[in-house]
């Protein structure tokens, strides 16, 4: 088990970089345990955004002047950093979107609905998905007559891998899965799933919103065709996301958004698309967001993703032990931190999660309560809602102790 001092060494330095961690909430120092919803930002990222607006704000790609050149260099530099971070073969495989949600919709519409899918084709998903990896496929189902199937889950929170044996058929065209559950923290065997998809001639789409921020991710090793994640969950600004796709898939994919930048030629009634990745970046992009994300990637690289993962693993282990001492605490998901990320969903006796969150808030502790945009998973777990604490680079064992103390306070209130 992690000793406190062992962890604190690095974390103290990291925390210095996050201005928000100096603030108090209801008179208590903030304990932010909701990074799975959105992460906090280091001053390096905040400054990069300000710096863009203060020093070289200009439209990228089309400006033939110094500011525009600087903006384009930094924007494309950010693309290279992101590509390197996930081990893409080339920056051309990285398109900027506004969020994981846009990336997944872009795939569902662009590769699916407007591209390769036909009536009767099948898509294999899981019960563990976030709404953002459910609803876009419902669109394809409703508009194209494609059939959806969902791999089930064990009571431990593992995907029922054997479901793939029966659910993947020769009609399967897409297998989509979250790499890490935002509710249970379960890390799914995406490499294995991609392999099975490919064996059946299907493509594999990975929702990496909860993995890329928290662990080393190598798209080539996974072997997936598409992968989506958000900047705001990985120390980056809001309004910037990433759509990764192999060159082959991106080339055969239609654009979701039509507009400026994404076209080569426009005539009345017809247009020719630009090359990848630009054809997926219709409209003026979130330049500040992309540049800020590039700096977030630098920051995470500076720590090292192996270190990030280890830190969260130790913290999760510490938390699972500390919290299990709280009366009535019921945690969902695996005990084995090797197979789960730093996300702990729980209930506390029969106290409603909303009340837990409210009382913790008064203690300065920010956690989430609700269905976490995963209602089908909630139905599977047979709970209306859970409380959720989630960790990141700036969290400490002391904060876990405060959470445990906060939960005891909740019990006091409801005694």
């Amino acid at each position: 088990m992690a000793t406190k001092t062992e962890l604190l060494m690095d974390v103290g330095k990291v925390r210095e970089d996050f201005p928000i961690l100096k603030r108090t909430v209801h008179g208590k120092p903030l304990v932010y345990l909701d990074s799975a919803a959105t992460s906090q930002k280091p001053r390096q990222v905040i400054d990069a955004v300000s710096d863009f607006f203060s020093r070289y704000n200009a439209n990228v790609h089309r400006a033939i002047y110094e500011l525009g050149e600087e903006a384009t260099r930094e924007y494309e530099g950010a693309r290279e950093k992101v590509a390197g971070f996930i081990h893409a073969r080339s920056p051309n495989e990285v398109a900027f979107t506004k969020s994981t949600t846009e990336s997944l919709n872009a795939i569902a519409y662009g590769w699916g609905l407007k591209g390769k899918l036909r009536e009767g084709d099948e898509i294999v998903s899981t019960v563990m998905e976030h709404h953002s990896n459910h609803v876009p496929w419902f669109f394809v189902q409703d508009l194209k007559g494609v059939k959806l199937k969902w791999v089930g889950m064990t009571d431990d929170g593992l995907l029922k891998m054997e479901d793939y044996d029966t659910m993947i058929t020769k009609r399967t065209k897409v297998v989509t899965v979250t790499q890490c559950s935002n509710v249970l923290g379960t890390i799914n065997p995406v490499q294995e799933i991609a392999k099975r998809a490919h064996e059946a001639g299907a493509i594999c789409v990975v929702d990496a919103a909860q993995s890329v921020p928290h662990m080393p991710v190598d798209v080539q090793k996974i072997g997936c065709d598409f992968l989506a994640f958000s900047g705001h969950k990985m120390l980056g600004p809001t309004g910037i996301g990433v759509l990764y796709g192999t060159e082959e898939r991106l080339n055969e994919m239609e654009p979701l958004m039509g507009g400026g930048e994404m076209v080569r030629e426009v005539h009345l009634g017809s247009a020719k698309w630009n090359d990848i990745p630009f054809k997926f970046e219709g409209g003026t992009p979130n330049m500040a967001g992309a540049i800020g994300l590039g700096v977030a990637v630098d920051y995470l690289d500076g720590i090292g993703m192996d270190r990030v993962r280890r830190h969260e693993k130790e913290l999760t282990k510490y938390a699972l032990e500390a919290l299990s001492d709280v009366k009535g605490f019921h945690g969902f998901g695996l005990d084995d931190v090797e197979r789960r990320g730093g996300v702990i969903s729980f209930t506390l006796g029969d106290v409603h999660p909303h009340d837990i969150a409210s009382i913790l808030d008064v203690e300065g502790i920010a956690i989430r309560s609700g269905h976490h945009c995963a209602q089908p998973l909630m139905e599977r777990l047979n709970v209306p809602a859970t409380a959720r604490a989630s960790f990141y680079v700036y969290n400490t064992p002391e904060e876990v102790d405060r959470l445990a103390a906060g939960l005891r306070k909740v019990l006091d209130v409801f005694a």
């Binding site: 409603h352 909303h354 409210s358 609700g370 409801f414």
Partner: protein, 146 residues
């Protein structure tokens, strides 16, 4: 600092654990479902009316302590009242929980919810059942609060 004790008063905790009128009405002539998608809370309110008078009321569903106790105490407060009276009470109640009480004395026991005003995010919890009641009175089948 926000006062937890003021929010979770004894009476409130009691009603949340032992909600009154917590059942459906088989012979209800008005029903409405209220949802707060924020936290997954959901209540159904059942009414039996005699003209404009609420002769019986029940509710079912799930929610946090604030929303459940509020639903429970609401049912007690409005039973026997006319629809117009009930809506007037809701107005007073809403003023209370948003920190602008005009006639707190009119609220009777419901005054225990005054602590909610310090927790703006809980206003929706406290008023969910009331909104649902209103929907039932106005014969709207369902409402949702975002």
């Amino acid at each position: 600092m926000a006062d937890l004790k003021a929010l979770y008063q004894e009476v409130i905790l009691d009603h949340s654990k032992n909600p009154r009128n917590f059942h459906s009405l088989p012979d209800a002539d008005r029903t409405a479902v209220g949802r707060n998608p924020l936290c997954g809370d959901q209540f159904t309110v059942y009414l039996r009316m005699d003209g404009d008078t609420i002769v019986d009321i029940g509710f079912e569903g799930q929610g946090c302590a604030i929303s459940k106790s509020s639903a429970s105490m609401m049912t007690q407060a409005v039973k026997g009242k006319t629809g117009v009276e009930a809506e007037g009470l809701f107005d007073r109640f809403h003023e209370l929980v948003t920190g602008k009480p005009a006639e707190p004395e009119a609220l009777g026991k419901l005054a225990v919810f005054s602590g909610v005003s310090e927790f703006p995010i809980r206003v929706k919890c406290a008023s969910l059942a009331w909104h649902t009641l209103k929907a039932a009175l106005e014969a709207k089948g369902a409402i949702s609060m975002e």
